[in-house]
Subunit: 695 residues, 2 copies
Amino acid sequence: MGDVERGVWKEADQAHDNNGLHSQADDSKKTKLHETEIEASRAFGVAHELRSVHEVVMPTPKSTLHEFLDISKEMLFPDNPFRQFRNQSRRRKCLLGMQYALPILEWGPQYNFDFFKSDLISGITIASLAIPQGIAYAKLANLPPIIGLYSSFLPPLLYALFGSSRDLAIGPGSILSILVATLLRQDVNEETNPEAYVRLAFTATFFAGVFQASLGIFRIGFITDFISHAAVVGFITGAAIAVSLQQLRGVLGIVHFTNKADVISVMHAVWEHPEKWSWRTILISICFLTFLLVTKEISKRKTNLFWLAAIAPLVSVFLSTLFVFLTHAEKHNVSIVGSLKKGLNPVSANQLYLYGPYAMKAMKIGLISGMVALTEAIAVGRTFATLKDYQIDGNKEMIALGIVNLGSSCMSCYLTTGAVSRTAVNYHAGCKTAVSNIVMATIVMITLLALTPLFHYTPDVILATIILAAVLGLIDLKGIYFIWKVDKLDFLACMGACLGVIFISIPFGLLIAVGISIGKILLNVTRPHTAILGRISGTSIYQDIEHYSNASQIPGILLIRIDSAIYFSNSNYLKERILRWVDDEEQSIQERNGVPLQYVILDLTPVTSIDTTGLSDLTNVQTVLQRRSLQLALASPGIDVLDKLNKADFIPLFGQRWIFATVCQAVQVCSAIAKEMSLDQYNENSKPIPKNPMF
Amino acid sequence: MGDVERGVWKEADQAHDNNGLHSQADDSKKTKLHETEIEASRAFGVAHELRSVHEVVMPTPKSTLHEFLDISKEMLFPDNPFRQFRNQSRRRKCLLGMQYALPILEWGPQYNFDFFKSDLISGITIASLAIPQGIAYAKLANLPPIIGLYSSFLPPLLYALFGSSRDLAIGPGSILSILVATLLRQDVNEETNPEAYVRLAFTATFFAGVFQASLGIFRIGFITDFISHAAVVGFITGAAIAVSLQQLRGVLGIVHFTNKADVISVMHAVWEHPEKWSWRTILISICFLTFLLVTKEISKRKTNLFWLAAIAPLVSVFLSTLFVFLTHAEKHNVSIVGSLKKGLNPVSANQLYLYGPYAMKAMKIGLISGMVALTEAIAVGRTFATLKDYQIDGNKEMIALGIVNLGSSCMSCYLTTGAVSRTAVNYHAGCKTAVSNIVMATIVMITLLALTPLFHYTPDVILATIILAAVLGLIDLKGIYFIWKVDKLDFLACMGACLGVIFISIPFGLLIAVGISIGKILLNVTRPHTAILGRISGTSIYQDIEHYSNASQIPGILLIRIDSAIYFSNSNYLKERILRWVDDEEQSIQERNGVPLQYVILDLTPVTSIDTTGLSDLTNVQTVLQRRSLQLALASPGIDVLDKLNKADFIPLFGQRWIFATVCQAVQVCSAIAKEMSLDQYNENSKPIPKNPMF
């Protein structure tokens, strides 16, 4: 026996000794067993691997505080935003701190005229989109149209001060507006009590801002990650379809229409009185819808003509307003926007319902719609940040969006977000910084101060058509097909959300989207994957035998890989699953008269951590297997598993010689022993399992 | 170049060709590059490993239905309870089905006299414990004491019919009783409205049974796994302390006492009027408490004297009743139980609040207390099943417990569970089947029919003392110390629950226990572990460099292992983390003037699955790294990852030559290329990344 090998087993014995589970009389017998084992192992040419047994080193324990700080840091500050503060002078740290709080102080000083040129063009482009969309989306939310213009003025200004994204265009969103309308309608009827409706909308926006900022301040913004992308795609597609169906009211010129957005109610209202459809509005709608869709398609194919799709809505508004004005169509049952008050945002802070029954309702609405707005803005912001290769601090961005909504709710604005379509236009128009938002806000301001009378004769049908054109672009059939192709479970989630919105209601579809997402997380958490491994012939690679047909099991050995950390939410399942694998294997061996099972090796490579419940169940497995005369071996345990086993004094329970650094090693040693001696001979020194202190 | 190697690269090219990313003119150049690469690789003696490149086989796709059925089966029937039905005749299947629904039909026919002897002894033993405890725990729940006896009669009988555990002893529990009392008190005052209080208790029990059975029927019983063992230990310890403090009322003989169970209120009530303490009750209490604790200790040390601790409470009741009767102590301000009605359980089905305001309250109380009762019974049942090496179907057991509570609530019983102390006595007394429950129920029946007058003079103080002795045994300081030693995070959870109960209230402590458990799950789910790997010198083992000091990184290569499946709840974090590792590494290289970074290899061994969001973020990483002239390689991708990459047509995006079967291989090939040629030369044939269809 080589010196190294002797040394290795001596180390193991030393540990064994120190735990008082060793007696003098067994020494000679053990030495003989060791020698035979080493000889056997060498016969397989793995002597050099045995040296790596002492790779299974007990890790140096981290202090509790250190461990706790590490976890908190990773949890709350995953992007390490204060990295830049390292090794800086005090003055610089102050400056960095202020720049962190107000990003405009960071990019402001570096601003130059080239940037301004780009931002001016993009600002004008998105303003031409924002004005008609603002009016239209406010109507979608059942709010006075002027509020849509207010919400395209102040929020972008606030965002430019506090926001981190260079591309996000802030303003009302289509899906968000209909969600707000649906939620508000549950509590206040906008026809009988319009003033309370508007006040509730402002209050909900206020609370939405509070929730958004809180998520960011307490750095728990990661909860927006808990909704699966597939469910979001399904929800948005369904909501877009719902919004489109609702626009049939304006397009067909129907006066009495359902408030609900589900397809059955809408279809019923549409086909109830076909004779009441107004051919005028249908005509206007078809013409301009074609115009809008065509310009959109041209802009998509020739990206240098991006401005075409952007000004198309404004042009449509202008033309249709002119048409109505000249033909006096408003006297022929074509409903119009009506007069829009001139002037900037009036103060609304005194109108907020900060106490009383409406306050609770507003909080609920604010929470739901605020989370949706946040998820959309963060997702859009990240998408474009990736395209331009810069990072966004999610939590900081949430604080910014919270401040935007909080502040603007006190100035007659309702809930705004970073809408994907407007941001895409901003991006393609070549924006460089958030100054494009400032330019847009300035143009909206000019409109508010001087140009609002121009919209007096704007027909509602054109607003409906603009909304229709906008949301049809949100229906992402290509994305849904991609999901179907790649991941059927994800597709189920997607369809569940989509159909929930279309057939029941928008909030219900949202609930399904969130529920399915959480269900997926639970599934992953509570039913981790396990696999029986076999060796790929001619190599030392072990793979799942279910998927690799050239992987074959080793006789007498059952090799199970556990593909997850082991903790309370899955440890009982894992215990039962392992024992079931063993039962099935023994039954199968019996049926085919194979080599009797002697070893169960657990490949713990993916087991990144284990807690006290997991430890307890693992030792249960050991106990049960021992009763059945099977030997359990642990292969490739991670640092946390070794650490916990050590602290719990469970190493002697398993036996240090049955803990291996690699699967390869474990299989080779077990095979060697199986061939040379019986398990009983090898374990002659084992003492009875100490009582588990947890029972 | 060997035939095998040529064949391997030809395969790769074929795939490349088929994706139309290949042109004729590049052929000769590519062949030359390949030759150089193979030569370089051979120089490192890894030619044989290259053969295993074709281990990275595209898996055979499973049909969607098959995949869905697999997942459902694992989720809902993890223990495969219908295994035994395989290959059986139809008649046998019928029989097996009936035995599954009524386990008594399974073990009944195999019953023999030996079993009966053991069950008789254990039944008598637990009956002697059940009678005093039943009376005492009902008082703990502020219910008439006779209800405690009713609840020790019918529920065990029902359980013997439907239950699967051979050891579980059913009856009222101490922690459960005080939880029920706390919850009921929030809605009904038992002093002013005792009848409504009792009816609400029955109704809550009814709904608890409904919830418990539903969990089992819909096979979502795994949600009881979502509470961490450490939090449970903390909660039970805290509740035991709270119950002990409450017993000071009976021990000190104080009449006016607080209803709250938190330590501050109790201490205040105790020390408010020390002069009102009754020396008589204190004396009785101390004497019998000593007696009970001593007998308990003796039974623990000498397991053949188990019956001593079991009959001690009954003996105490007998002696103290005799003492009060003889000394007429009830005339000296010693409160007594009073008269207990003779006769069996009256029907109470007509008293249930199945509609009206109380129904909702009862549902809430039933849900909370039902879940606690279930968790305790399942945990206790599993513990003893493990000791005796048999399995329990968790879901089936839940249906049984649900039926027990549902049925017994209609017969004047309140919420019962499988209490750990009584079950332990049952186990040590040598029970063989649930017949011990039948024996216990029979003895309680005899008591109800004939012996209730005996308890007329039983002093309340002895009941308080019995409760005190029972719950002191639940305070698991050894278990808490073990948790402290092994896992500090678990210890925080434990202490949080314990202190929440002691200082605020029992329901609040329960909330903390559940909240911390869910928080731990979220932590695991949203912040998965990643590690930088280095090679352990002299071996081909790669380990985390943070924990293995003899692991050193390979120059020019950053090797990151991702220790979790990649899906929507963690993919954004993983993306940002990987990019941050890259940033830190490049900065560190710059500071020490090291070999410039060229390759980023992701070890995907633990990545058991990936979803569409994960795929999207992975390709984002690829995009960003490409911009920085870094090459991304994927090592050891699991079957699901390969499958999804293939379905999404992302393989050409990464380049099949950059997907390796093992980390070892990936490192060796990348090192070889780094030494022989620059990355640009190697990638000359790469086309621009196709547009990600998800944007």
